[in-house]
């Protein structure tokens, strides 16, 4: 009887202190994580950032024995160039390699959507690190560490509507990117509800480079605010073209303009353009974020951008799933652990809840570039 009581007490103590979870110990060894890189092609600038973030995460995880004693991770990189067919080929190869326990991929939603049936068929856990189309996650095998578009855009649009009280707004939007279409729709809904008339919607394509005509079209309707919901190269080009044509009204954009190379490219024309962002090396002050910034600067000699943070988070999320497994890890067990996760433990955002395989991020900040090239919080005038 005394033994039973003591056993029950010990069990209760173990549960209360979390030892039950800590006892999970994956078998020592080196485990491969597939990374479908996009370091060439139209999104290569962002693709390089995602991959660098992942490389740093693997280095940190291995040095700190984050997954467990004797457990190390190795990245198995395959290039897709943001092309769906090449991405499918890469994932098929990763799926055939039984040493690969999980994979992470995709900036573009159509590419992620193309991979979904492949990964479900191969039963290879896939963590999406960039694409934001609603409905992409399909737990337990497909999960996403990227917050869906909507909350950040709504938050910024509300702030801008309140601060600037625009009467008319022109929107630039990617016709070929559903993620940006959704961001644009969310922002327009807020603006129209606040009484701001939609003066024009100018569609552009991701591959476009000349925005002189679009800028002329926008300026012709004399809007109080121009909202730019496009990928990075068009966003930079549109803002540069608007300012070069002496547009003096307000401009807002997405986090696509947050990386330092965009400021180096466009310069002071970006100053004062607010954008919503989840991570910024200058603004994010949690211990995890600061350690990430320091580690990245040490490894790559520069500050990380928001895409680096997403690549970094994806690898830590996979490591978190592995950490929860006992013995020799399998793809099925890892998928189960990732699908059941209710949060991402190690992150630079100050907390990331997971809901049914989808990250939910609500603590975005509104930032802006200063004229001397620093990212600071955007404040209401």
């Amino acid at each position: 009887m005394a033994g039973a009581v003591r056993g029950g007490f010990l069990l209760a103590f173990a549960v209360a202190t979390g030892l039950g979870a800590a006892e999970a110990a994956p078998a020592p060894g080196e485990y491969s994580v597939g990374f479908i890189t996009e370091t060439t092609g139209p999104l290569a600038a962002a693709g390089v950032s995602f991959y660098r973030g992942a490389q740093l995460a693997v280095e940190e995880i291995n040095q700190a024995s984050y997954v467990g004693a004797g457990v190390t991770l190795k990245l198995a990189a395959k290039e897709s160039g943001s092309d769906a067919a090449r991405a499918v080929q890469a994932l098929t190869q990763l799926g055939a390699d039984r040493s690969v326990l999980a994979a992470t991929c995709c900036i573009l939603s159509p590419v992620a959507a193309a991979l979904k049936p492949v990964t479900l068929n191969a039963k290879l856990p896939l963590v999406i690190h960039g694409a934001t189309l609603p409905g992409l996650p399909n737990p337990p095998y497909v999960t996403s560490i990227v917050g869906l578009p909507g909350p950040q855009e709504v938050k910024m649009a509300q702030a801008l509507a309140e601060a600037w009280k625009p009467k008319s707004v022109v929107y630039f939007v990617n016709a070929d990117n559903e993620g940006f279409q959704n961001r644009f729709k969310a922002a327009r809904k807020v603006m129209e509800a606040a009484g701001a008339k939609t003066a024009d919607v100018i569609s552009i394509l991701s591959s476009d480079t000349d925005f002189t005509a679009g800028a002329t079209q926008a300026i012709a309707v004399n809007p109080d605010l121009v909202m730019v919901w496009t990928t990075q190269t068009p966003a930079a080009g549109i803002i540069a073209a608007l300012r070069a044509r002496e547009y003096a009204g307000h401009i807002s954009a997405s986090d696509a303009i947050s990386p330092a190379p965009v400021y180096k490219k466009i310069g002071a024309a970006l100053a004062g353009t607010p954008f919503p962002i989840l991570f910024s090396p200058e603004i994010s002050k949690t211990p995890e974020a600061q350690a990430f910034v320091a580690g990245f600067a040490k490894k790559f000699g520069e500050a990380p951008d928001t895409y680096c943070a997403e690549g970094y988070t994806a690898i830590y999320f996979i490591a978190q799933g592995l950490k929860a497994l006992d013995g020799a890890p399998t793809r099925e067990a890892l998928a189960d652990a990732l699908g059941k996760a209710t949060s991402i433990e190690h992150n630079v955002y100050g907390g990331v809840p997971m809901n049914n395989g989808q990250a939910e991020v609500s603590n975005s900040i509104i930032a802006q570039w200063t004229r001397d090239g620093k990212v600071v919080r955007w404040e209401k005038p």
Binding site: T40, V48, T209, T212
Partner: protein
Amino acid sequence: MLLFAAQLVNGLSLGSLYALFGIGFGLVFATLGVLNAAHGAYASAAALAAYFLIDRFGTPFAVAGLAGVAVGGVLAVVVDQIGFQPLRNRRSGMLAALITSIAFWIILDSLFGVATDQQSLAFPASSYPQAMLALGPLKVPTMQLVNFALLIAVATGVHLLIEATRLGAAMRAVGCNDVAAALGGVNARMIVLVKAFLAGATSGLAGVLAGIATSNVSASLGEGLLLKGFAAVVVGGFDDVRGTALAGLLLGVVEVFVAQYLSTSFRDGFTYLILLVFLVVRPRGLFGRDSVVRA
């Protein structure tokens, strides 16, 4: 009306870039018989060379631009001598040259991607004229007028060179039949080098100007010009610089007006519809001669 005029200027400026690029593209095709898919790489190389000279060494824009143009020309000569001359010696035909040019296109694009760390760069705004010039009620960026003026100068110069000089006669002779030209005393090898340099340099000029117009200097800069330049050559006529210049302007204006008054979605469709119509209805283009071999 003011918007119409502003967009017309935008279209002419954009079309000037297509035309400049097309002039080089057409020169190579009409006189060397090479449909050169690597031609866009010359534009990228020129823009990147000019960018690095400005960014790293603070070179004045005019000097950096000229150096970039020279880089475009030299690269074209190197590609021609390594890739096309051996095929020419073996009389391998257009298909072999096309495949070779695609290989060069991919290799050069990859190298430029590494050189730029896959980033899209831009000329510093302070390095080139940025003032808006007033033409009546219309305000026009200085560089748009520069684009147009350079097109007029280059098109006129190249046209006169080909049609009214001994060098031009030799170029045309080599284009018709290099063996016969050589028998007639023309140094065909030297003429090939001159043509390749001229073609690369004009494309390089288009690349440098496009880098300014689009705030985008990257490995893929030339890709955007390649298909439009090809369309300008087909619509204008392969063997006439005037036609290429006019067609380039036409395509630029159509592209801008379709985006303004119809939809961006139809923009490229209209460009290639024009291309298709010309291929079917008038395959020799606006100014082309009947005797020229067609693509």
